[in-house]
Amino acid sequence: MARIDYQLLQDMVPEGATVLDLGCGDGELLAELIEKRHVRGSGVDISPSAVEACVARGLSVFHGDLDEGLADFDDGSFDVVILSFSLQQLHRPRLVVREMARVGKLVLVSFPNFAHWWARTQLFVLGRMPISKELPYQWYDTPNIHLCTIHDFRLVCQHEGLRVERELYLHSFEKPAPRLWRPNLTARIAIFAVTRGVPAATAPTNSVA
């Protein structure tokens, strides 16, 4: 099944860019970016089997723990840094976002929106921690330890002096949501394109608030 979130991320990556994929898993996204956008890509993942899978694909990958920061990466050393659906699994998500903006010129982050109405309903009506396709785990064995909402993430960007260039929403990994009313309520998945506080030379903000 085609991952639309990968497609949307891909569309925001310039051709031939240097790309760092944090929490790259088995390298599927990176491999696609290399094939479709001819990027020079590297990945980071904490899992030995994920790193092995990336190496077997011929990818350049770094076995490491994102929560320790990106100390091994120089300032501005990548055109694009991607954190695809891993933000909520980190112990130190704010540090990682800050580090991403240090290392990359363009930061792309996708995450599940915990304020989606279905999650709110489960909590409010059933009094249970929400379970959905994007958040499929039980509360006691979920890797998703730092969930947030679209509003939360906008605030973090503000506090870190980061500029939101674009916001995109999806109903699921396979279904985009191009125009949404009140995305904090209606979007299950959000993708943010963010840059450092210095105004970007070209793109105006076109976030759908």
Binding site: V51, S60, D74
Partner: protein, 406 residues
Amino acid sequence: MTEQAGSARKEIGDVALATDADAGSAGVVATQYVTLAEPPAALQLESGETFGPITIAYETYGTLCEERDNAVLVCHALSGDAHVAGWREVGDKRPGWWDMLIGPGKALDTDKYLVICTNVIGGCSGSTGPASVNPSTGRPWGTTLPMITIADMVNAQALLLDQLRIDRLLAVIGGSMGGMQVLQLAVAHPERVHLAIAMATAARQPTQAIAFNEVGRQAIMADPHWRGGDYYGHKIPRNGLAVARMVGHITYLSDEAMQEKFGRRLRDIRDYSFSFSADFEVESYLRHQGLSFTERFDANTYLYITRAIDYFDIARGYRSLVDAFRETTARFLIMAFSSDWLHPPYQLKEIASALRATHKHVSYYEVDSRYGHDAFLLEREKMEGVISGFLHSGARTFGLCERRGS
């Protein structure tokens, strides 16, 4: 040393055996010898001296394909030799030092690749070294042998590759001093290799490691039988070399593994002997390790090779480590082992970061292990996946042949 049910127990100090004794073995292999660098084509050493002729001992496993581009060079560490896999003869007690990785269907698959391993020059296992006879004097070189560096070792191996008519290796792989040779080859001879795997090593020998090597050298030189290196035909400096090996051996282990294997257990005695004999198991073990080492290793070689290791700095002659890696074209796999305190992971990350700063294709992989520096000789299951994946994807990318076994 009993086997646990179901899996082969890794023993400190032992070479890891292939878990399946017959399948996957490189078989019985004979060491080959070739003499190269005959004057006037002698080898130009880093020290400025020229040296030749040089005898190189080497072993090969597998077959070269028609395009001659499926060769993998293995570089050994301080006390290694060319016998990296298989058996010297039927009934041999222990196989080659990296037998766990080399053979049909193993990480360095001899059905796909030609695997080569040489004894470094300055060594004592067949290649020219201090114990070899100087043709002009008819007597062993001893300490009159010129100083050998890692660069010299690699240049000698390049001569062998020329001799074997292998223009470009598929890969070069090694741990510890072997890892230094990997970096040296990739930097000094970029056109000779596609893939480089360096593990449990450093871009430059770290201070603490120099210190331990120096203790080993002092032990040898303080032995009255060393006679300035001129001991051939006399008693060898056995005690000095044994002590050097004991010290070195401790650096290859880990606190946790030693505690687990020996604890404070006494040898076959009920209580302290209140003397200086080997009361503790660990003492007895180290004494045995030291003495058995002297049966197969030459004391002067220990001096020369540790010196070469201590001198190693890939950035020497460059402005920085990043600069040193600028001209290399190989793809790299850099591997670290979590409990290795001789070459801790930060030293391997330094290599990977410097390579990344020059936009080279590099991967860094850390093996979680309790076995210390020796882990790279023991952790077969944790290493073979990433190594074989790296070789296979690299061969595919570069369009190199991987000969299929029949």
